[in-house]
Structures are given as C-alpha cells and as structure tokens.
C-alpha cells in the first residue's frame, strides 16, 4: 500500500515586480509516496526549479508563494515558522543542486561542512558525528574517505563534489531528497555513476526522491512517476510508463518527439557521392596542441597541458564529421586550432590543398571567408551593444566590397533563410530567445558563403525542442550549399542525426573514427563502448543502471612536464578500407593518476 508522505496542493508561486506579482507557477498539485522517485520534467522557464525550492522555503527574496499548501505528514510546511522549518531542512527534506562546483563553501573543509549538518539535526557528540560523516562518504563511494574529511572543495572534481553533496544530504536520513538537475553539469559517464548511486542509496535508505530535470533519458532511468510542466503549468502526470510510452497531452508528445534518441534516425546521412572522389576539403595530420602553465618567480613555463595529441582526420566537401567526447577531451581545442585561433604545436592543417598550419591572423584573413565558426553560448558570441543586423553583415563588410544597399539585401536574405524577419535586423541580442540567437549566429557564419563551418557545441545550451529545429536548419543548409561541418558535441544522439562520420575523442586523442552508424551501434573501442553505455535510454523498459557504480575515479592528467615525449599512437583498422579505425589500446597514451 503506497503511503503518501508529501502532498502539494494548488501551489501558486509568483515573482514580485513593480507592477504587481507575476505568477510563475500556476496551481501545481502532486503527491509523493514513500520510497518512490517522482520526476518533474520541463524545459527552461517551466517553473520546475522554483517549485522545488518552494518545498524547502528557499525561495529567493523576489519570489513569493501566492497560495496553496504543501503538507508533510499532515502539517503545512508553508505555514511553519522559521525555527520549525529549519528542523525540516536537512532533517526531513534534503536538497542537492545543479552546480557542484559552487555548492560547497570554499573556505571550510569537507569534514566541517558534513559534521555541522549532522550536528544540526542529531544530538550526538562531535566524535560520533565525525564517524557518521566518514561513513556517509564511504556510502557515497568516495575513495579515501578519511582523507577527504580534511580536504577542501577545490581539491575535488565536479563528480566528487556532487557525491559529497549527496552524502551531506542523506547524512540525517531524510525521508525526501529533492534533486534539482543534479547531473546536468556533469559528463555523461559521471552522470551515470551519480544516478546509479542515487538509486542504490534510495533502495538502502528508503528515501523518496523528487528529481527535477529536463533530460528525458534521466527520467526514463530513474523515475517511478512523472510530472510534466510547461510555462509554469502542470501538463501531465502519471507513471513513467504511462507518460513516456503513451503521452496524452500534445506538449508531452511534442517534447518526447523532439528528444534525439540513438538509433531512431530514420535515414542516416548519406554523403552525396560525387564529392567523395575529390580531394578532401580539410585535412588534419598529427595535430598537437599544448598550453603552457606558468608558475614560479618570473612566470616561467614549468609544465604544459597536452590538450590535443597526434590527431589526424579529413573532411570532404558537403560532409559532416562529428567530434564527440567529454569535457577535457580536446574537441573544442581542435576546432579552434583548425581556424588558427590558437597556436599549433606540431602537425599540419591543409585546407583546399593549401598548408595553413599556424598561419597568423593576417594571413588567415582572406581565408576567413571560407572557414567559419559557431559557438556554444549564442548570447555571449554576439556583441551585446550592436544591432544583430550589423553583426550579421560584418563579415561582408570586412571581406567584400558591396555597397550598403547590397549588404542590406544580402543580410535580409540571410535573416529570412534562418527564419527571422526584417524587423529583427534592427534589434539587439538580448531581445531574442536562445534559439533565435543561435539562428543569428548561423546567419553570420553564412554571410560570406563559407565552405566549412566548425560548430562548437552549438546546440548544447538550447532546449530540446529548439535543438531539433536548429539541427534541421543546419541539415537543409548543408544540402543546399554543399557545406561541410565539423560538429563538436558531447551528445551522441544529436550527433547521430546530423553527421556522416564520427570521431570519438578521449584525453586529446581520437580513439575511434568511422561511419556514424558503425561507430555508434557497433563500437569497437573500450572508451566508445563506455560512453555509449552511459547514455541513458529514453525507454523506461530498457534501463541501464545495472552497474554497481564505479568505485575508483581514475583521472588521467593531461598535464606533463616540459620535454615529455608521448609514445606514437598505433592505429588498428576495423574494416578493410580503413574508414573505421580505433586507437590500439596496448599503446594507449598513459598519464599520471591524479588523486
């Protein structure tokens, strides 16, 4: 018999402004039963985060609860006094947040922060609290738990910090854990570990979890019941099978439809064979990029970060090559190195047959016509004080000798092509939504009719429904103009939709390269397999969280002292034509193990 421990009834939250109160969350109602996981799903602006904050009384000063109730064991939390509420926070309901990097106080040790949380709710001695804290760290699968107690947050990685947060949250055995996008800021392999940990601890302690997320895959893996929100309104509620397999509401259907799923691609991208025989548009050979680390007295260079190590690939005209990898794999660095935005250590870059390795800005200028880039954060890549029309026209102004009127007409055509209007040309970046801004960036990249565009995580910051539109736009542009893309991303499902070939990167090296379908569905390299296994499946009947949660986090460090000579990499071909190959594991690049 399911036992309801939390009941939210007609919760209404608003933001105070000079003109009154703007309601952000309308009439939210749901129940949470003991030991179950409820996922609250929505895109940005859906009000899911603010609702979760309201449960603990942690709303920002500008927000206010207009009406409604939240009953915990029969008592309305919203009507409680601060002193009573404090006993609930951490004691009955605990919360973990999205950004592990900033969630812990930097000047206090891990141990101090754990112990004070414990002593707040339990009448035990300091020594007992210490023991409990160490035990919680062990339970959270953190290696060398005793040592961690004396360490400070900056000495731990993001994944480790999130584990500490979980340990801290569950230390007093709360009945409910509210997790606000706990894995969004983490790499996909780390995400798999954290989610698996949460599941395990839930079974051990019997905690109910409210999981706030935008990722349908996470929902499918973790949730028992789902609540879908949009623009502050509750759209649909039900068990995970009901909502994900047979969604009733139109919005839910649209949301699920927009989520890129691996293996769902109706027709994989086929390259127009005509251009296959011609000389490749872009060729990279043995590319290495290293960054200096300056330390000591006169800021001398003591060691270097080997960001990219001996990378080779080529891109044909009209083709999309995807570079996938987790943070720190070097994929963004390659994108910049190809455009000579950062210095190249060794290796060669050939564009249209010409060797452009290490060309200065002045030499590169005429080439900038043909090689363009789109960045991850569309807001930050547009100068906030310029009208977007001027920004899109700027490449034309620099490179071509058109008159003002001609430029205007061309810019207008570009705007219309990316789905924006003439009036939009006179507006400023902040007046657009994220998706619209990315369209503007695409328009700008197209201004001089380039041959190749480097897209660096260009859809990662967008909502899933908007992502799909941008991908469609990019695909149709490619078909129209025979554009090539170097598509850099960490999201395998998105990559599958747009690319012809995929290169998987780890620690600065390409570990596997081949056709999209072969690499993603028949991965040969250990790392690729690990990566694919970590991606949560959107089908709730095919959950993957069977791993017990990796215990050791082996972080290889790309930082090497000066003069370090890496071993030459050896390639192992998978198919006879050599179009699919992997890095031979026995010669894999080994680094120091960082604690």
């Amino acid at each position: 018999m399911k036992q309801s421990i939390l009941t939210v009834e007609k919760l209404r939250i608003g933001f105070k402004s000079k003109t009154g109160i703007n309601t952000a969350v309308h009439e939210l109602s749901f129940e949470l039963n003991a030991g179950e996981t409820l996922a609250i799903v929505g895109e940005s602006g859906s009000g899911k985060s603010i609702s979760s904050l309201a449960l603990l009384g942690l709303l920002p000063k500008s927000a206010t609860i207009e009406s409604g109730s939240v009953h915990l064991h029969g008592q309305d939390i919203l009507k409680m006094k601060e002193s009573e509420l404090r006993r609930i926070r951490g004691g009955k309901i605990a919360m973990i947040f999205q950004e592990p990097m900033t969630a812990l106080t930097p000047v206090l040790s891990i141990g101090e922060q754990l112990i004070e949380g414990i002593l707040c709710h339990q009448m035990i001695s300091k020594q007992q609290a210490y023991k409990t804290a160490v035990e919680m760290l062990r339970v959270a699968r953190i290696p060398e738990a005793e040592k961690r107690m004396q360490q400070f947050p900056h000495q731990l990685s993001g994944g480790m910090r999130q584990r500490v947060m979980i340990a801290m949250a569950l230390a007093c055995r709360p009945q409910i854990l509210v997790a606000d996008e706990p894995t969004t800021a983490l790499d996909v392999t780390v995400q798999a570990q954290i989610l698996s940990l949460m599941r395990t601890l839930q079974q051990e302690f019997g905690t109910a979890i409210i999981l706030v997320t935008h990722d349908m895959g996470v929902v499918a893996e973790m949730a028992d019941r789902v609540l879908v929100m949009c623009q502050g309104r509750q759209i649909e509620k039900g068990t995970v099978l009901q909502v994900l397999k047979t969604p009733q509401a139109a919005y839910t259907q649209k949301l699920l439809g927009a989520v890129p799923v691996m293996g769902n691609v109706k027709d994989s991208r086929q390259l127009i064979s005509a251009s296959m025989s011609a000389r490749p548009l872009l060729e990279i050979n043995d590319l290495s990029v290293r960054f200096d680390i300056r330390e000591g007295l006169l800021s001398r260079v003591k060691s270097r970060v080997h960001a990219v190590e001996q990378v080779s690939f080529s891109i044909a005209k009209g083709e999309t090559l995807a570079l996938v990898g987790e943070s720190g794999s070097g994929k963004s660095t390659i994108g910049r190195a190809i455009l000579n935005l950062i210095p190249i250590e060794t290796g060669a870059v050939r564009f249209k047959g010409r060797d452009i390795t290490g060309w200065s800005n002045r030499l590169m200028r005429p080439l900038r016509n043909d090689m363009q880039m789109i960045f991850q954060d569309p807001m930050a890549s547009l100068n906030p004080r310029k009208k977007v029309g001027k920004l899109v026209a700027e490449p034309m102004q620099i490179h071509t000798r058109c008159s003002k009127a001609e430029r205007y007409q061309k810019t207008l055509k570009l705007f219309e092509r990316v789905g924006l209007s003439e009036q939009d040309m006179q507006r400023y970046p902040h007046q657009f939504s994220g998706g619209q801004r990315q369209r503007i960036c695409i328009a700008r990249a197209l201004a001089t009719d380039p041959d190749i565009i480097v897209a660096d995580e260009c859809v990662s910051a967008l909502d899933v429904s908007v992502q799909a539109q941008i991908i469609e736009l990019m695909k149709s542009l490619q078909d129209e103009r025979c554009l090539s893309y170097l598509f850099i991303s960490h999201d395998l499902a998105v990559v599958e939709q747009i690319s012809h070939r995929v290169a998987v990167m780890n620690m600065g090296q390409i570990v596997e390269l081949g056709d999209t379908q072969s690499v993603l569905h028949m991965p040969q390299h250990v790392y690729t397999q690990k990566l694919i296994a970590a991606v949560p499946s959107i089908d709730p009947e095919q959950t993957k969280l069977t791993q017990k949660g990796l215990i050791q986090e082996e972080l290889l460090s790309p930082i090497k002292p000066i003069g370090y000579k890496p071993t030459t990499s050896v390639i192992k071909k998978i198919n006879s034509s050599g179009s699919h190959w992997i890095l031979d594991q026995s010669h894999q690049y080994r680094g120091n193990i960082v604690k």
């Binding site: 910049r336 900038r368 954060d377 547009l382 700027e394 810019t411």
Partner: protein, 300 residues
C-alpha cells in the same frame, strides 16, 4: 560610423520614428529622475562657473571690496575674508578652477590609463606582464605620494598640481580598463570577431571599446571627485594654487587663523568642495547602478 544599414524611407515614417524615439527618451528620463536632476545640476554649475567672471558682483581679487571678516549679509552673500574680498565672488570664480583641475587631470589619467589598459589587456604576452608590473609599482606609491613628489620637484602651482594628480591616478584607470578589457576579450564575441576576420583595430575600437566605455565613464566620475579632493588638498598645503587665486583649498588655508572671528571663512569653501564632490559621487553612483541594471540583459 559608415556602417549603418540603410533602407530607403519616406518622410512620413521618419516623422513617426523620431516621435517614437522622443517618447521613449522622455519615459527613460522620468524613470531616472535622480540621474536627470544630477545631470541638469551639473550642467548648470558648469555653465555658471564658465561665465563666472562676467556675472559675479565683485572682483574676486579686489581687496577692501567691503569691510573685513564680515559674516554673510545682503551685500556680501557669503561674507568677506581677511582682506575684505567678497567670498561669494571668490567661490564662484573658484568653482571654475575646481572643475577645470578635476577635468584636466581626469583627461590626462584617462587617456594614458586607457591606452595602457587596452594595450596590456588586448595584446597580452610580455607586454601585458611588463605594463601591469609597472602599474603595480606605481600603484604602491599611492597617488598622494606621487603628486607630492612631482609638485616638490616641479614647484607649487595649480598647473603642476593638475599634471601631478593626472599622472598619479594613471595606474588606477589603467587597472580598471585592463580588467574590463580582459573580461570582454575572454567573451566569445571577441573570438567570433577574430574568426570572421576582423583586424586588431576593428576589434578594439568597434567591439571592445563600446563595452569598456561605460565602466570607464562610471570610474571617471568618481575619479573626478578624487581629483578635486586631491587638488584642493594640495592647494590647502600651499603646494597647488597660489594666493591670490580664489581656489577653494587655498581659501581654507588662510581660514585657520580667523575662524573664531569669521567662521564662514572656514565653513563655506569646505562646504563648496564637499557639495561639488558629492554631486559627482552621486552621479557616479547612479551611473553605476544603471550599468549594473543594464548588465542584467536590458540595454536601453
């Protein structure tokens, strides 16, 4: 700049466009009443001071224009000083000197400081390290010391004080500009500008400068107040304006001996300094708040 996107328009739409712009400007001014008021006040004061010589009742340097050391009266609104000069006239003419000193020293510091900051922040490398170390060294001298040292060797005069204060404040402006340039330079839109092939000049003047300028303006208004305080301080010590100049700091120097008989001599020049400095500090504060508000996504 010659990169306006021009669309052929007819006169009718020009008219409505202007009206629209006027309407939104007025709405903006009403919202920022205080800023508007301060700006108006400043303009009035500047106008008054520039024309001071023409409309003041008495010649500021004329001794025995009235009985000595008299308190404020109907004929002498601020009273008279130890030589019988009309204080009101001296204050008004002195205002021009005060504003002039502030303005000139800020111009000197701003031009040198922004150049250093822009070069160091944009080009980086050894140039950045060298320039910023130099600024660090200058900074540790503190403005007052540099100003004193320069006046000590060049000789006391208002002009030398202006130059001394101007040079002394350079590290402050350089540091602020450098910090702002670094922040903007690390933002993707600068990298985007490079990737579309913009030249160094274009990136600095077209992209970076408009984003750095607001911060520099805010800092300049506060720097203006500091310059005025420093200049009057130097004049008080006798190292700046020399008698019989009606500079406010110099006027205070003499007051020490007479304040029991004529407290207005002590009170009024100091209050004047404080008022002008206060106006500029408030102006800077309002501008800074506006800047903070703008940074949160709204740009007017």
């Amino acid at each position: 700049m010659a990169n306006e996107l021009h669309k052929p328009q007819n006169t009718n739409s020009y008219f409505w466009a202007t009206l629209g712009v006027l309407h939104s400007t007025i709405k903006w001014l009403v919202k920022r009443r205080f800023l508007f008021f301060l700006g108006l006040l400043t303009s009035i004061l500047v106008a008054l001071s520039l024309s001071a010589n023409h409309w003041v009742p008495f010649d500021p340097e004329q001794m025995a224009a009235g009985p000595r050391l008299k308190p404020p009266s109907s004929s002498h609104w601020f009273g008279t000083d130890e030589f019988g000069r009309d204080i009101f006239s001296r204050i008004m003419v002195g205002m021009r000197l005060t504003l002039q000193v502030g303005f000139v020293s800020v111009c000197i510091s701003l031009s040198i400081g922004m150049t250093v900051g822009l070069i160091a922040g944009y080009f980086g490398g050894w140039l950045e390290r060298l320039l910023m170390r130099a600024m660090d060294v200058l900074f540790s001298f503190t403005e007052i010391l540099i100003a004193l040292a320069l006046v000590a060797v060049l000789g006391p005069s208002l002009e030398n004080a202006m130059i001394a204060i101007g040079i002394a404040a350079v590290p402050f402006y350089a540091r602020v500009c450098y910090g702002a340039v670094l922040v903007e330079r690390n933002k993707p839109y600068t990298e985007a500008a490079i990737s579309i092939g913009a030249s160094h000049a274009r990136i600095i003047f077209y992209h970076l400068l408009p984003n750095v300028l607001p911060i520099m303006i805010v800092v300049s208004t506060i720097g203006l107040s500091n310059a005025i305080l420093a200049a009057s301080g130097l004049s008080y010590l006798g190292l700046g304006a020399q008698p019989p100049s009606p500079e406010w700091g110099a006027m205070l120097a003499a007051s020490k001996n007479y304040f029991q008989r004529a407290p207005s001599l002590l009170f009024i020049p100091g209050l004047s300094i404080m008022t002008i400095v206060l106006i500029f500090n408030l102006l800077g504060d309002q501008l800074r708040q506006m800047l903070d508000y703008n940074d949160q996504g709204k740009h007017s």
